[in-house]
């Protein structure tokens, strides 16, 4: 069925810039390498013999960042700018450890909030399937949650003399 088949995105679409922003460095490098392999014979190249470079043991660098392990330039203290504080942790950890693996995947929604939402969800979905007579019994509880009020069963009342 059409609904079961996953929509396949064409290669050209995947190569567009907005699709590649979320990719890792590695996948980007792989894509670039694949593109380079498609080089056809029309590309010109120099037909020179390989020149041997003189072995030089000294490399000149003008940057201080290679010499001293400097911290990241933006800093924030005592919560003045939370985004910068997050960046500080990221950047300074990158300097110390090459591979930074996420220790625990941060939950977007906490467990408590999830339970609360689920509670109200049961009420709202239940209301959809209740019969018209029962829908009136769904009232707003405290906190604004929609819950069905417990119906008191009507018993036969004996007439009093």
């Amino acid at each position: 069925m059409a609904a079961e088949r996953k929509t396949k995105l064409s290669k050209n679409l995947l190569r567009m810039k907005f699709m590649q922003r979320g990719l890792d460095l590695e996948t980007k490098k792989q894509l670039e390498e694949e593109e380079k392999k498609i080089i056809s014979e029309e590309h010109w190249y120099l037909d020179l013999p390989e020149l041997k470079e003189k072995e030089c043991f000294i490399i000149e660098e003008q940057s201080f960042s290679l010499c001293e392990d400097l911290l990241y330039g933006r800093m924030s203290f005592r919560g003045f700018n939370p985004e910068v504080e997050k960046l500080m942790l990221q950047m300074n950890a990158k300097n110390k450890v090459e591979e930074v693996e996420d220790e625990a995947v941060e939950l977007d929604v906490s467990d408590e909030e999830m339970a609360r939402r689920y509670e109200t969800l049961v009420g709202t979905i239940g209301k959809k399937f209740a019969k018209k007579r029962d829908r009136a019994s769904y009232e707003e509880d405290e906190n604004g949650h929609i819950k069905p009020t417990v119906k008191v069963k009507k018993m036969f009342l004996k007439p009093q003399d």
Partner: protein
Amino acid sequence: MAEAGGITTESVAGDRARAARTMLDQVVLPGEELLLPEQEDAEGPGGAGERPLRLNAGTRSRGRVVCGPGLRRSGDRLLVTKCGRLRHKEPGGGSSGGGVYWVDSQQKRYVPVKGDHVIGIVTAKSGDIFKVDVGGSEPASLSYLAFEGATKRNRPNVQVGDLIYGQFVVANKDMEPEMVCIDSCGRASGMGVIGQDGLLFKVTLGLIRKLLAPDCEILQEVGKLYPLEIVFGMNGRIWVKAKTIQQTLILANILEACEHMTADQRKQIFSRLAE
């Protein structure tokens, strides 16, 4: 006459070439030549004398030495071009041997270096690029596409007079420096326009490096005073912001003065401020 003079100066310079190893943390002056460890052993006592046994011969030979700021390569030796203290850092983690040598000098004038993060002031907006003053000999150019999420239709909101935190992609003596506010992955990672308010002031380059050192006590103490935000540019510019103007000014004065204070004087001042 000229030849004889040339030869004598050469021999004098050759005699004065000292081993880099012995000059570590000492003051060196421009014009001095330094020998690297491998050459020093070779030029030492000849075959008749004792050859020092090298147990770790593998690590010493064939290592690439990096000569950092203040040093230049002249043949097989290092030539000092700035006055200051000679420093050395061993390579970490068993990577390609040799280590890094550099001269720890002090200066106020910044020369753009590729990869440095700097604070610039936008001075002009011409067509597709901004001209940003970084304190060098000429203003750096910053393309409007070099911001995160910028496209031809979606231009960044940058005005003349704004402060920009960015890094150099092109910075050499032959070309106009170019900077960007984006890293190699295309993310901003803290770069871009620096927010409203705050104070920008200039200090020496050596102080910036001292403050950005991993074990800097000054920053740890400053961070305990009150909530604040600082941005350090490698071109000697610091931008600070705190909740009130008075706090901002106090912070700026501390950072400017801490260059010439001893640790005790600094602690006195901080204890007075904490009251």
